[in-house]
């Protein structure tokens, strides 16, 4: 019984910390303006929608991975799945939740676009280094 209570409490705390952590990652990237070419490639202009996320993630996987952003991209991917789950369950009953999940999904897509931008510039740097060599 005690173990079950500890499990429930710690899972609730884990979920809360995880969501806040993901939002801190998103907040850090939301200030970055996308370059015109990333806007063209992703179709995201000023605001992203949740529907863009999977497409941007596919583009992200085409670029060489940067070791320093691997964990954050995975964390946001997991956060997006949680949001999808909430959208298809709780948000159907609570309309305000529907708006919130959609907004958050859009932020996730914007985060992925910023990560794409970084990976593209990383690839360019690598190419430039190879050309120099």
């Amino acid at each position: 019984m005690t173990a079950a209570i500890i499990f429930v409490i710690s899972m609730a705390a884990l979920l809360q910390f995880f969501i806040s952590y993901c939002r801190s990652l998103i907040a850090a990237s939301s200030k970055q303006v996308l370059s015109p070419e990333v806007k063209d490639v992703t179709g995201i202009q000023k605001f992203a929608s949740g529907e863009d996320f999977n497409r941007v993630m596919q583009l992200l996987q085409l670029c060489p991975e940067r070791p320093e952003d691997r964990n954050s991209v995975q964390a946001i991917g997991a956060y997006f799945k949680i949001l999808n789950f909430l959208r298809s369950t709780v948000a159907r009953i609570v309309p305000s939740m529907q708006v919130w999940t959609e907004l958050e999904r859009g932020h996730c897509a914007y985060f992925a676009a910023v990560a794409l931008e970084r990976r593209i510039s990383f690839s360019r740097d690598m190419l430039a280094q190879q050309m120099d060599a």
Binding site: I6, I9, S10, A13, F17, F18, S20, Y21, S24, A28
Partner: protein, 232 residues
């Protein structure tokens, strides 16, 4: 001996632990987050020590079991002080360091006494049992203290992005371990699953701290109200 998966996770975790210290030095944050780096350095040394003992004595040996539990207790105490150093940073302007230090030692003493009282009822291997009990209880105390610190960050409107991410990462780590301990008690027959899950959880903290030191500049700021799970 360790299988390929265990070897991979051990290597990954050890490299990440060293990576945290290297990134902190590179970004000139070593002194500012001194106790966090001491903890990560200690974790690195313990990881190497555990591997050495394991290679010499084997995973089922008494030497490895002793080394594992005593080093785990030492690391948990180290992490407890690392958490308190985060408290000092959050309450920096309030000049409450003296009270924090006193409170920390009292809480550590109370946890040690509580662990001793539990162990006192059993008859054999008292010191090893005490080390295990102390680290388990300190994990739970750590989770509660991190939660309180997170509340203080909200209340004091702390805006330093790196500090917030370090605290949140610690919260994820503590709560994941507390859930893991609880599940292990609920389903002890799933030992092969825990055998894989527990070492992977150990990589959370060094990976997230390394990211915070490497990618988040010290001067970066954010509005903490934006991080609330329930929108404010």
């Amino acid at each position: 001996m360790l299988g390929p998966f265990e070897c991979f996770v051990w290597l990954l975790c050890t490299l990440l632990e060293a990576g945290v210290v290297v990134c902190a030095v590179r970004t000139r944050s070593f002194r500012r987050y001194f106790l966090l780096n001491v903890y990560m350095g200690l974790s690195f040394l313990v990881s190497v020590g555990r591997y050495t003992v394991l290679r010499h004595s084997g995973v089922d040996s008494l030497e490895y079991a002793y080394f594992y539990f005593y080093s785990d207790a030492l690391l948990t105490i180290g992490l407890y002080f690392a958490l308190l150093s985060l408290y000092s940073l959050v309450f920096d302007e309030m000049k409450a360091e003296r009270y924090l230090r006193l409170g920390a030692f009292l809480l550590l003493g109370a946890t040690a006494w509580f662990s001793y009282e539990i162990v006192n009822q059993s008859t054999h291997r008292m010191l090893t049992h005490f080390a295990f009990e102390l680290s388990q209880n300190l994990y739970f105390v750590g989770l509660v203290l991190t939660y309180v610190l997170w509340g203080a960050i909200f209340k004091l409107r702390e805006s330093r992005t790196r500090l917030i991410q370090l605290v949140l990462a610690l919260g994820i780590y503590f709560s994941a371990f507390a859930a893991n301990y609880a599940l292990r008690n609920l389903y002890p027959n799933l030992q092969p699953v825990w055998h894989f899950v527990t070492p992977l959880l150990g990589c959370i903290l060094p990976a997230t701290w390394m990211f915070a030191f490497l990618r988040v500049p010290e001067e970066a700021r954010l509005v903490p109200a934006r991080l609330a799970v329930v929108p404010r």
